[in-house]
């Protein structure tokens, strides 16, 4: 008998049952997939570092005597360390499939050893054949050159030339992020030796493994001239952008779980409300409450079980798709957590069944007649209608839609929450992407604003007159521009490794000096005044914190072999090396033979050209410097930190599709349920002469109004929430405060319109179902 009732029920309420099943599937997929992602992604970096055996401290130096000192010191103190050689290669000497290598940061050839590296299938690379080469993942996937397995890379430097076959890409914990500022191609020992000629610029990469918490301080005390030095936690920060993406994934996961819960709650409430009449009849003929509840519990259990099994199956590809971008660089496996999926799916199933059972609790409270009256006692103390047709000049259909929404706002809450979340899920990544791509971001990298950047970094060799080298290069560019009728400031940032000391506190940091006439007042500071003489400096808040320095304090800074005292005049922020930075006055005397590197040549036109002129000048620079890459400021940042914005863009598309899919389903569900509930009113309106199109418009407008309200609320809240969610991540990187770049048209018009159009269209198509309701059905309305 029960089976018979169930069979009939499933057939008769096909639409609502199918919608419930779809949402259970969706919820199970989202909940199981997102729970897996939450666990996988939140611990991904730690797991990867542990698996790869990354060092507790890493530094690179070109100074042989410093290396000797370190080895002696490490030997005395029993530190375990590994040294590997990094043979610096100028990107212009590399051809990828006979094309110029589109990369201009520090590149090195290296061999296996030390930190373990993994291939695309997360298998450790233990051997490299002669003539084979592995490329780091972020370069392989940059899309700038044609990297593919079996492809050719030709390297010619110092009179040596060799063609390599690309074996694949590496997941390299030490050099795997664009933010490391240096990356490596892995070759065999024999091939590496080929390039270790006399003219080769070789630096030692030293990986130190120690549990000694004071190692950093002891190392700083050694005052070794390093090109780069980072501890384990800072090494992790190099993956900040990947962490950012993972964080977005986590937010998406949490939102999806919340959305699923809201949807399930609504649909279960709604379907049970639909059953009240039948419940009333069953009660009236004497069937016990427990038996009635059992009947519905069985029905919802069957639906929940089927939905959960299907959802569980879908959750695996869903998990993989969501983490696919993060797992390009990091060894990450969502398949390791199968039991998380199963557990989460089981929880989703239990949630549905328990919630249904909880909803049917009302059955006990109601008398048969109350149940027949759909759970309403008829008593109502508040006005239903909020507005009056008599007092408005709105078209009737629009009025009805507005009145329905605002009179029954409670029933629209689920929809509003889902639509707001969807809007935020789309807009927050858009704001982040636009901020990451904005020209203003360059000021967070210890650089002054400029119009173009020529990526023609110089390779500095110890002991050379690097200052003259830079001056010469800048003069040449300036003259070249003048010859072409362009008057511009041409300048460049030179980096030094420096040791900073205040009292007994010391640290090391990258230091910057602008060359080519760029003055310290062209950089941005959080507090204080720019350095105005050779003995004044600005510190980033991170460095100031490390040595307890404040504006007005005196600090000792050692660059190379030279130690001088400086007064701190300003505090600034920097995303270089996660917040490191000392800004020297432009004329401060520094030993350029210790210059560790430089940024691209910045060009700031004096005539403030418009967009079109800037584009033509970029084209001109490309002609003048065919070997260099010309960037806008934003483009240069992208180049330095990797195309995180690009990766976020593809993630944004995935999120957008997901949000549109959810919105469409919610709109279809809502319209279907409204039509089911309002069959009587629809038949009445048809009977008194309302046309189908007017009624379809009424239904569509109702969803549209809810959507407009939600999208508006979402869009208005997005700047604040973007800042709340994303700023802490930038802060971890060293940016104390960041101004979000909000493109009003994109954020407030384009994306809201896309969401609106897709959802409203779904509502419109779904509302076509009311055509089937005939005006004559009014006499059959219950």
């Amino acid at each position: 008998m029960y089976l018979q009732i169930l069979k009939k029920d499933i057939k008769r309420k096909k639409t609502m049952n199918v919608i419930l099943l779809i949402f259970v599937i969706l919820a199970a997929t989202f909940i199981a997939g997102s729970a897996n992602n939450l666990l996988t992604v939140s611990s991904a970096l730690d797991n990867f570092f542990e698996k790869a055996g990354t060092p507790d401290y890493w530094f690179a130096t070109t100074n042989a005597s410093d290396m000797e000192r370190f080895e002696e010191y490490a030997g005395e103190n029993g530190y375990r360390y590994h040294i590997s050689r990094l043979i610096q290669i100028e990107p212009k000497n590399v051809l990828i499939e006979n094309e110029k290598f589109d990369y201009s940061n520090t590149l090195a050839l290296s061999t296996l050893g030390g930190t373990r590296v993994y291939d695309k299938n997360d298998r450790e690379i233990t051997h490299i054949n002669d003539g084979e080469i592995y490329v780091t993942s972020f370069i392989f996937h940059s899309g700038k050159n044609d990297f593919h397995e079996g492809g050719k890379i030709r390297i010619s430097q110092g009179g040596i030339e060799k063609e390599f076959t690309i074996k694949g890409y590496t997941k390299d914990a030490l050099f795997g992020s664009a933010m490391a500022g240096i990356t490596r191609f892995l070759v065999s020992e024999k091939d590496a030796k080929l390039f270790e000629g006399e003219k080769a610029a070789i630096c030692s990469s030293v990986e130190v493994h120690t549990k000694d918490d004071s190692f950093r301080d002891r190392f700083n005390a050694l005052a070794i001239n390093t090109i780069m030095s980072v501890d384990h936690s800072m090494l992790k920060m190099i993956y900040f952008m990947d962490v950012l993406m993972a964080a977005i994934l986590l937010v998406v996961g949490v939102c999806l779980i919340l959305i699923s819960m809201v949807i399930l709650r609504f649909i279960i409430n709604f379907t049970i409300a639909e059953e009240f009449r039948e419940i009333g009849v069953m009660k009236a003929i004497g069937i016990k409450n427990s038996a009635i509840r059992g009947l519905y519990a069985v029905k919802y259990f069957v639906l929940a079980f089927i939905g959960t099994i299907i959802g569980l199956g879908l959750s695996f590809p869903f998990s993989r798709a969501m983490v696919s971008q993060v797992s390009e660089k990091i060894v990450i496996s969502s398949d390791d957590n199968v039991f998380i999926n199963i557990g989460a799916a089981a929880m989703a199933c239990a949630f549905v069944v328990l919630f249904c059972y909880f909803c049917t609790k009302k059955i006990c409270k109601f008398s048969p007649i109350d149940a027949i009256h759909s759970g309403e006692t008829g008593e109502r103390f508040q006005k239903k209608g909020m507005f009056h047709l008599e007092k408005t000049h709105m078209p009737t259909v629009l009025f009805m839609a507005v009145n329905d929404v605002f009179s029954g706002i409670k029933s629209c809450i689920s929809m509003i929450i889902i639509f707001i979340m969807g809007t935020l899920l789309v807009i927050i990544p858009v704001n982040t992407i636009n901020t990451l791509r904005s020209d203003e971001l360059i000021t967070l990298f210890n650089m002054a604003k400029s119009d173009h950047v020529i990526s023609q970094e110089l390779l500095f060799h110890p002991g050379e007159d690097n200052r003259a080298k830079v001056s010469r290069q800048l003069s040449e560019v300036r003259d070249m521009l003048k010859q072409n009728g362009i008057d511009a400031d041409v300048f460049q940032e030179i980096m030094f490794r420096s040791n900073i000391l205040k009292g007994d506190k010391r640290t090391n940091s990258l230091s910057f000096q602008g060359m080519g006439g760029v003055t310290t007042d062209r950089y941005t500071y959080i507090d204080g005044t720019p350095p105005q003489n050779v003995r004044e400096v600005a510190l980033t808040f991170l460095i100031a914190e490390q040595i307890d320095a404040a504006i007005g304090d005196e600090v000792m800074i050692k660059v190379g072999e030279d130690t001088k005292t400086y007064t701190v005049t300003a505090i600034n922020q920097s995303m270089n090396n996660m917040g490191e930075g000392v800004r020297f006055y432009q004329d401060a005397e520094l030993d350029y033979s210790y210059a560790a590197g430089c940024f691209g040549i910045q060009v700031k036109y004096k005539d403030n050209p418009d967009k079109a002129a800037l584009a033509s000048r970029k084209a001109m620079l490309e002609k003048l410097y065919p070997d260099a890459k010309i960037y806008t400021s934003g483009g240069y940042v992208t180049y330095m930190i990797g195309d995180v914005a690009g990766q976020l863009s593809s993630m944004k598309m995935l999120i957008l599709s997901l949000v549109l899919g959810i919105n469409v389903l919610v709109a279809v569900l809502m319209v279907k349920s409204f039509i089911t509930r309002e069959k009587g009113e629809i038949a009445l309106l048809k009977a008194i002469g309302f046309k189908n199109n007017s009624l379809i418009l009424w239904q569509t407008l109702r969803i549209g109004i809810v959507l407009i309200v939600s999208v508006l609320l979402g869009a208005l809240a997005s700047p604040f929430l973007s800042s709340v969610i994303i700023t802490p991540i930038f802060r971890m990187m060293g940016a104390y405060s960041i101004e979000f770049k909000i493109r009003a048209v994109e954020v407030y018009v384009v994306y809201p319109l896309i969401v609106l159009a897709a959802t409203a269209f779904a509502a419109f198509v779904s509302a076509q179902g009311l055509r089937k309701i005939s005006s004559s059905q009014i006499s059959n309305i219950e």
């Binding site: 047709l389 259909v397 009025f399 009145n403 009587g680 309302f690 009014i778």
Partner: protein
Amino acid sequence: MEKILEVKELCKTYVVNKRQNNVLKNMNFCIEKGEMTAVMGPSGSGKSTLLYAVSGMDGITAGEVDFCGRNIAKMNQKELAELRLDEMGFIFQQMYMMKNLSVLDNIILPACQSGKIRETRRETVERGHVLMRKLGIIDVADNDINEVSGGQLQRACICRSMINRPAMIFADEPTGALNRSASDEVMEELAGLNAEGTTIMLVTHDVKVAAKCMRILYIVDGNIKGEYNLGRYDRTKLRDRERALNGWLMEMGW
């Protein structure tokens, strides 16, 4: 007298489980302007089906239904909706109303949707007030529909059916859900409207209701079995009309 509704060879067939059910069989009748006609008959005889078929709310299987000179059998859904909105008024047994609208808003809703009468919203509201005053429900104009009695609600439905000044009102057991006194009040209002020239066709089981009509069509098994003319309603002769009608209905097998 001018014909407002002419029905020729009207057939209505439902197919249920591949079995034909001929609800209306070759019906022929006409209603003249200003008439108040009651359709009576036993349950399942096809009274409501006839009302919905001739008012264009339900399709017909065969035949012709001329309403104001237009064959509604050949009209599409859009034209039928326009016709119902502008030229027909409907009253149902249950007082169907839009839940989220006040009583007055429900009454003026068809007028606001129709373009038949060119007027401002204020003028529409004024007409709504006039009708409500006439039917004695002006006090509940701003009330929610759950705040008024069944009788008041049915009078509001009559107001709604009248708001577009229709050529004809169709009423399906308009007093079926009301008690005797409310039923009498509603029928008095309908009779009054008819006296002012509104054509009315109503379906009823109630002899007291039918006795207020001019003409009675008695339907059995989808055919018109008989027709009885009571003449124009006169309240003073209500008892006589009821007695006469009862007698005729007995003959019909009521």
